[in-house]
């Protein structure tokens, strides 16, 4: 069963960037990535993936409609077992505190440090693969 990482960001170019950065992993089938351009669509994907191998959710915060911080508790309610990492341009203390209080694993700031992100993903892949 393939492992799934869900990426939530209203910026459509994020998909291109992620597919590039992780192209070797994706090609090798280490995991797959799914992209949602709004929190609403993300919730849909999370419900659809019920029971499947969703191992990680990466979410932007500032998005039209439902924000990433509003998505967080809803995603956790649907899948308490799946860790959520917030990725945002706003790395101030207040945002960070809200994210962690809301149940996020951690908060990464943009521009994205892909080395750090890869470590996060790798550790989830390793756990899921056991």
């Amino acid at each position: 069963m393939s492992l799934l990482v869900l990426v939530v960001d209203d910026e459509s170019d994020v998909e291109m960037l992620f597919r590039q950065q992780f192209r070797r992993d994706l090609r090798a089938g280490r995991f797959t990535m799914d992209f949602a351009q709004s929190a609403d669509r993300a919730l849909q994907r999370i419900s659809d993936a019920e029971g499947a191998s969703l191992i990680l959710i990466l979410s932007d915060i500032n998005m039209p409609g439902m924000s990433g911080l509003e998505l967080l508790p809803k995603a956790k309610a649907l899948r308490p077992d799946v860790p959520v990492i917030m990725i945002t341009a706003y790395g101030d203390d207040q945002t960070k505190r809200k994210a962690l209080e809301g149940g996020a694993e951690t908060l990464l700031t943009k521009p994205i440090d892909f080395v750090a992100l890869r470590n996060e993903i790798d550790s989830r892949v390793a756990v899921a693969g056991q």
Binding site: E11, S12, D13, Q20, P64, G65, M66
Partner: protein, 215 residues
């Protein structure tokens, strides 16, 4: 090996295009902010509201036509002859009107692209004297504004437009100009799938302003 090289060059090409595209986006954000920071240099003077609204409407219309081929919209003016003059900073209020009108154009054109069946884009600009204040209304028959968007639409950088098409600064700056600079008010009435109407109210006398024009 060759495959890898091909992939990389293809990727680099794509990335360069993205650099250009997002560079332009950053450029327009900076330009908008600069325009905004230059506020205050403009003097307030008594301005005929109807002429100002009419000029802005023409400017926005011709701007939109120059930018987009096949742009067509029915424009209506509903001006109160008693609207008279208001102490205002014409460059700033023109900016607000251009923002509101071009948003209206965008909404109507978007809806036209979606529905097609006999829909005619239309925009109404109206003025009304309220005694010591004057009301300006810009109403479009576009798709309206969803409730969750309405809450956030005056926030800086909030936009529903695709990346590259909007900076998310138009309404936030408009709010600052009307409310903070001119001590007026701005509110919106909308029905999703029907219309959007922005209503700005300006006091006639500059003395009513708390913030003044010298931030």
């Amino acid at each position: 090996m060759r495959e890898e090289a091909n992939e990389l060059t293809h990727m680099l090409k794509g990335n360069l295009e993205k650099v250009v595209q997002h560079g332009k986006r950053a450029d327009s954000i900076v330009k908008n902010m600069l325009l905004h920071s230059r506020e205050g240099s403009g003097e307030r003077r008594p301005i005929d509201v109807n002429s100002l609204v009419e000029e802005s409407l023409n400017l926005a219309y011709h701007g939109a036509r120059a930018e987009k081929q096949g742009f067509k919209i029915r424009l209506e003016q509903d001006f109160d002859p008693a609207a008279g003059k208001v102490d205002l900073c014409p460059q700033e209020i023109t900016r607000v009107l251009l923002n509101l009108i071009s948003n209206g154009f965008y909404a109507s054109m978007k809806r036209k692209a979606e529905v097609r069946d006999g829909y005619e884009p239309a925009l109404v600009a109206a003025t009304r004297s309220l005694g010591d204040r004057v009301e300006i209304r810009i109403r479009d028959n576009g798709g309206g504004i969803a409730a969750e968007v309405k809450d956030k639409m005056f926030n800086p950088f909030f936009t529903t437009k695709p990346p590259g098409e909007g900076t998310g600064l138009g309404l936030s700056i408009s709010y600052d100009i009307i409310v903070k600079q001119h001590a007026g008010s701005i509110e919106v009435d909308t029905q999703p799938g029907e219309f959007t109407e922005f209503r700005g109210i300006l006091p006639r006398a500059a003395t009513a302003s708390k913030a003044g024009g010298n931030r």
